[in-house]
Symmetry: C2
Subunit: 381 residues, 2 copies
Amino acid sequence: MTTTDGHINGHSVRKLNFGAGPAQLPYELLENVKDEFLNYHGAGANIMELSHRSSTFAKVIQDAEQDIREILSIPESYAVLFLQGGATAQFSAIPLHFLNLKPSQTADYLVTGYWSEKAAKEAEKFGKVNWVVPKGSKYQGVPAEASWKLSADPSYFYYCANETIHGIEVDDIPAIIPKDVPIVCDMSSNFLTRPFDITKFSVVFASAQKNFGISGVVLVIIRKDLVEKNTNKSIPLILEYKIQIDNGSMYNTPPTFAIYIASKMFAWIKQQGGLKAINEGADKKSSLVYQTIEQSNGFYVNFVEKKYRSRTNIPFRIVTNGVPDEKLETLFIKEAIQSNMIELKGHRAVGGIRVSLYNGISVKEATQLVNFMRTFQTNNS
Amino acid sequence: MTTTDGHINGHSVRKLNFGAGPAQLPYELLENVKDEFLNYHGAGANIMELSHRSSTFAKVIQDAEQDIREILSIPESYAVLFLQGGATAQFSAIPLHFLNLKPSQTADYLVTGYWSEKAAKEAEKFGKVNWVVPKGSKYQGVPAEASWKLSADPSYFYYCANETIHGIEVDDIPAIIPKDVPIVCDMSSNFLTRPFDITKFSVVFASAQKNFGISGVVLVIIRKDLVEKNTNKSIPLILEYKIQIDNGSMYNTPPTFAIYIASKMFAWIKQQGGLKAINEGADKKSSLVYQTIEQSNGFYVNFVEKKYRSRTNIPFRIVTNGVPDEKLETLFIKEAIQSNMIELKGHRAVGGIRVSLYNGISVKEATQLVNFMRTFQTNNS
């Protein structure tokens, strides 16, 4: 007998995945997908075996769009697109469409870590990019706004709301940015973990495999009027917004199964109580981990400036005698695995441990982790 | 109790899908995926919930690559890539990389239907395209080679091996093409339905949702030395071959679940006896339908020149008094649905009926269709 938390005949077979993505899904969602695997709603096939032009799949993608519009109160002036190529494709699509939006022909990029750096470098392939702050080496926070170098009238301002490797979260549009500058935001790793006002943004994009599904689909929410202003006629088809808007994300065959899983996640988020409830859960989960770090008397150390600490990705080191102790970190990861918790190894760029707390991780599971952290500290200090 | 052909408690719930894709998968494959849905090989998660950097997924993509290399005898001088964006992304990636390969800076495109026309038009965004034959209007065959206008030394020659809408298949590289011209082929709809010599090609690509899986992944088999010759520095990241070759298709997060299904399909093809057996099956299935058409005394009519008849997509009209009978075609589609057979409506560009016979359709199922066709003719002529 399988229970809803992955116990089979009393034994837990389900691993607890704290990796940076692809992330674990809510177990009840997985069971539901399994239940309809051979016969989706009487269609006599799995949803992934059906034409994207079928009425059955049309309902899936329409429901998905309707749910996400409801969750985020997205007005009709914005298009909602389900595309391929992840955030990486958007790193190119954004400058290809919008670099020349204003006479300055310059975009301002706030680089706060690995992903925004990558996006800025990609944009430089296609035109002029102004780095708002100098390229960092450590990324343990965001330089004070007073030091930022902003363009006079940039085509857009770009930032990444959450950096997964360095664990830096910018939880709202920086106050210093003038209201009339189009804001483009990569929310791949914290999308749908907190409410936000979409009307403040021109483009928001997020790949699904962290907080709302599996890899293979990226959600793009974009101001339709801005797309109409694009004058670049040499954008590769697969990156063209207008053609996908005109075709309801189905100019080419969409990744139907990944969209189906996203639609399930949107429904799940609504069931949880929407973004208000999700936000509270994200606060609880991340507070559990940060408190455990803070109360560890320097055994666990997170280097990120408090104001910019990420709620979804928490990198930390285990420190003995003032220096990171790689041996102890290796033991931590090993013993975590023995306790059924996987993917806790930090990114090679920063080392140590990383705890990712996406929507598929429950408060109960985060509690399980911090209990392990406390026990590990007791046993090893 | 579920049997291997989709009967549950003696009732067939499984529909027979003759659509142009996404296509049906072998039922036993679907059951196998369902069986390991909550716990993939003891990993304690679905494969789609695991990091693409995990050893578990690494084995999936490595096995997939090894199997497809074995099936097609792909030498090490070719890279095998699992990418996003379908054939549409390749329509741009190809000219962006190779249009300027030769001093002619021109690519020859053989346009035989909807898809090759789309590819040629996309290439025109980025440089000079020579249309080998004039743009057609009906596409019921391929003009005689003697009439082709080939470039003296084109950067490459491009063709689509199978046109799904018009039902035209070019089953080998046209003999007229000089041996030293790089050949680029879109095999999306007949890939893995017949053996072919990969060493005659420079690039072959095929999206998975027809003959080897689900939508969201496109396979690209490409000569590594050709990629090294690319000098275009402004190719969007997501379309860059070299970066994906260097990173084993994992420069960005790959569509893990779609790759997993493809790996299952490759294993399934090997189990069937490889491409020799698949090829025989494709011959049998398509012969059943074409024979039924030919023996119908003009009740069913396929307009494609015999030499270029597609084995995977067979469009036909139902004709009474010498003209297509849309009323009868509507009845055909309706009664087929009542007999559990779906997606038989022809593409709006050509009308009528279309039977797609991808790898997921068995000879038995094709027989079921032609039995229906014969009965329908008897009842309606």
